[in-house]
């Protein structure tokens, strides 16, 4: 079985009388160590797709398997535990914790989710900060960093727990063209080094050039 298996999945949002079919009968499989991009116009269902794969949301219909586990059957607590152990997240607006330094932001999942020992933590954090090229900025707070630097720290934070799969919803939307391409290249380099699977969405043509596997969504359907 592939790393991610989406079987006949639909997601329907109901707001009052209006039904929005964000995803309609989508079937897709994503292999381990691949570098996958979802593209499509606004409202096509990219975020919905990533939320389902990222175990943040459940489908209205169909089955979602991540790492051979049927995650749509998990409860709240199981989902949280699964996300903590198996997944990493990179966000459009970076979402670094403003009260923590770059180092502490990267350390956060090791302390709060993984309960690693101090010495082990230090080794892991320094290593990943080094590979994203942020070691010399490790003691700065997020508001002292540029957008591109913040997103590098965020990449480090997503990777420090050594997840199988990293999800990133429009990770470059808040960045200038040059930083955007650099962040995507960094992600790909990390995939090459760690064999971590990356799935991200974008509607930036410059970024798409860096992609390997592209899935296009339109009105909630794969085309």
């Amino acid at each position: 079985m592939a790393l991610v298996q989406i079987d006949n999945v639909s997601k329907i949002y109901q707001t009052g009388d209006v039904q929005v079919k964000a995803l309609q009968d989508v079937t897709i499989s994503i292999d381990e160590a691949s570098f996958v991009t979802f593209v499509g116009p606004s409202g096509s269902g990219k975020t919905t797709m990533l939320n389902l794969i990222g175990c943040l949301d459940k489908p209205t219909k169909g089955k979602v398997f991540v790492g051979k586990k049927q995650v749509d059957a998990f409860n709240r607590r199981q989902l949280a535990a699964f996300r903590g152990s198996f997944l990493g997240f990179i966000f459009q607006a970076f979402n670094l914790f403003p009260v923590l330094t770059a180092y502490e932001n990267v350390e956060y999942p090791l302390v709060m989710i993984k309960n690693k020992s101090i010495s082990k933590r230090k080794e892991m954090v320094l290593k990943v900060l080094e590979s994203v090229g942020m070691l010399n900025q490790k003691d700065k707070f997020p508001d002292q960093l540029s957008g591109g630097q913040k997103q590098r720290v965020a990449v480090a934070r997503a990777l420090v727990t050594q997840p199988k799969l990293v999800l990133a919803d429009e990770p470059t939307a808040n960045l200038d063209k040059k930083s955007a391409v650099n962040v995507i290249r960094l992600m790909r380099a990390m995939r090459d080094e760690l064999k971590t699977t990356f799935i991200f969405s974008t509607h930036d043509p410059g970024v798409m050039e860096e992609a390997e596997v592209i899935h296009t969504l339109e009105d909630g359907k794969l085309v």
Binding site: R77, A80, A81, G84, N95, M112, I113
Partner: protein
């Protein structure tokens, strides 16, 4: 754990002004309680001390019905020699009792040979009285300027200052006491004025003092007959226990109709100050309730704002797999830290305040007593209790906002702007 508190503290420092204002408010609430309990508590204790140690004594035993007719100082309600012996035996065997003293209370006419006035008298056995009311001589003035070794000898009288001034009686002068005994016959005796006594609050606060032997001969009473037995116990905070104890023992003495013969009262029943003491207690409790309300509302308010402002951060934590318990813990730590900081500051200022009030002593006047010095104190247990309350309320006030944060769905929280 340390990490959680570190994050909590940094988050508090993020909104410096708000944190400062809130902790200032809590500090003020705490200070209000500490200073008020310190001042009012010491005022209360001092007044109770005045009343029990220099005048009323802590407890009194009478023939039943005496206290309700105390204003007429009835002479027919006496405890006779036989009963007196029995009571003294009970008191002597009770390990909680420090001392007891017999008293005869009555009204008489006081004359300086020209003018005559009414006087209420407390006839005492000086050696026993001093053990029951160790400060009895505090309000007395003597001719020599200092307290004599034997407070009062037979043939001597100590009269209230108002009467002394009114009748122009001086220390060393001579007066006549005329009194009716219980059968109605009149008797008079000469006395030397040994001293003058200041008044004190309460019904027994304007009495003169004389020797119990003189009272017996003036009133033609039998030997050892008394009106009142005053008591002092070893541990004042056990007053109510000893009282209930003695009350049940005394209740066993019954007359022919099966009614109890004696009655026992504590100072609370005998002095109007007990109502003031009760008021002080009620006010202290009210202060504490106000403090709890301040802490509850201000922390609830701040923590609700904190959660609301940080929805996206909460979403991020939750998406990354932080367990709901951890998220709740993070916010609880924040509320607790806020309470803790305020408590520490409040305690430091409060202790400093009480300390400085003790250096610059406050003098005040109460009734006819003046130049009373107030030295406020607050016990460690009281401080600990108040501080623990603030901390507990802080956590309690944070529970709801923290729970709300922990229940947020990451998808909704992340989408929040």
């Amino acid at each position: 754990m340390i990490r959680i508190f570190k994050i909590a503290l940094r988050n508090l420092m993020r909104y410096k002004r708000r944190t400062l204002l809130t902790s200032l408010l809590i500090t003020l609430g705490l200070l209000m309680v500490i200073l008020f309990s310190g001042l009012a508590g010491s005022f209360k204790e001092m007044m109770i001390g005045q009343i029990t140690d220099s005048n009323l004594a802590q407890m009194q035993i009478h023939k039943r019905g005496y206290v309700s007719s105390i204003d007429t100082s009835p002479l027919n309600l006496t405890i006779n020699q036989k009963s007196c012996k029995k009571i003294e035996k009970i008191l002597g065997e009770n390990p909680d009792i420090e001392a007891y003293a017999p008293r005869i209370k009555f009204s008489a006419m006081l004359s300086n040979f020209k003018e005559t006035t009414n006087i209420r008298l407390n006839a005492i056995d000086p050696e026993k009285e001093i053990k029951v009311c160790p400060n009895v001589s505090d309000r007395m003035k003597f001719g020599s300027g200092k307290v004599p070794d034997i407070l009062l000898k037979p043939g001597e009288i100590i009269i209230p200052e108002k009467l002394a001034a009114g009748l122009k009686i001086e220390i060393g002068g001579s007066v006549v006491l005329v009194a009716n005994n219980k059968d109605g016959s009149v008797n008079g005796l000469n006395f030397r004025v040994a001293g003058i006594i200041e008044s004190i609050l309460g019904p027994q606060g304007k009495e003169g003092y004389m020797h119990i032997k003189d009272a017996r001969s003036l009133l033609r009473m039998e030997k050892s007959e008394v009106i009142e037995i005053a008591l002092r116990i070893k541990k004042f905070d056990k007053l109510d226990d000893v009282y209930t104890d003695l009350k049940s023992v005394l209740a066993k003495f019954k007359n022919k109709k099966g009614k109890p013969v004696f009655e026992i009262h504590t100072w609370k029943k005998l002095s109007p100050f007990s109502n003031i003491a009760k008021m002080i207690d009620i006010m202290t409790v009210s202060m504490k309730i106000i403090m709890i309300a301040i802490v509850l509302i201000s922390i609830l308010n701040v923590m609700m704002m904190s959660v609301y402002e940080r929805v996206r951060e909460i979403g991020t934590m939750s998406a990354m797999g932080t367990s709901p318990g951890r998220i709740m813990g993070l916010f609880l730590a924040e509320g607790l830290s806020l309470g803790l900081i305020s408590t520490l500051v409040g305690n430091v200022i409060g202790i400093a305040g009480i300390y400085s009030l003790n250096i610059y002593k406050i003098s005040y006047t109460f009734g006819r007593m003046d130049n009373l010095l107030l030295s406020p104190t607050i016990s460690f247990s009281e401080l600990a209790w108040v501080s623990a309350t603030v901390l507990l309320v802080s956590v309690f006030a944070t529970l709801q906002p923290a729970y709300k944060a922990s229940r947020m769905e990451p998808v909704d929280a992340l989408g929040h702007v």
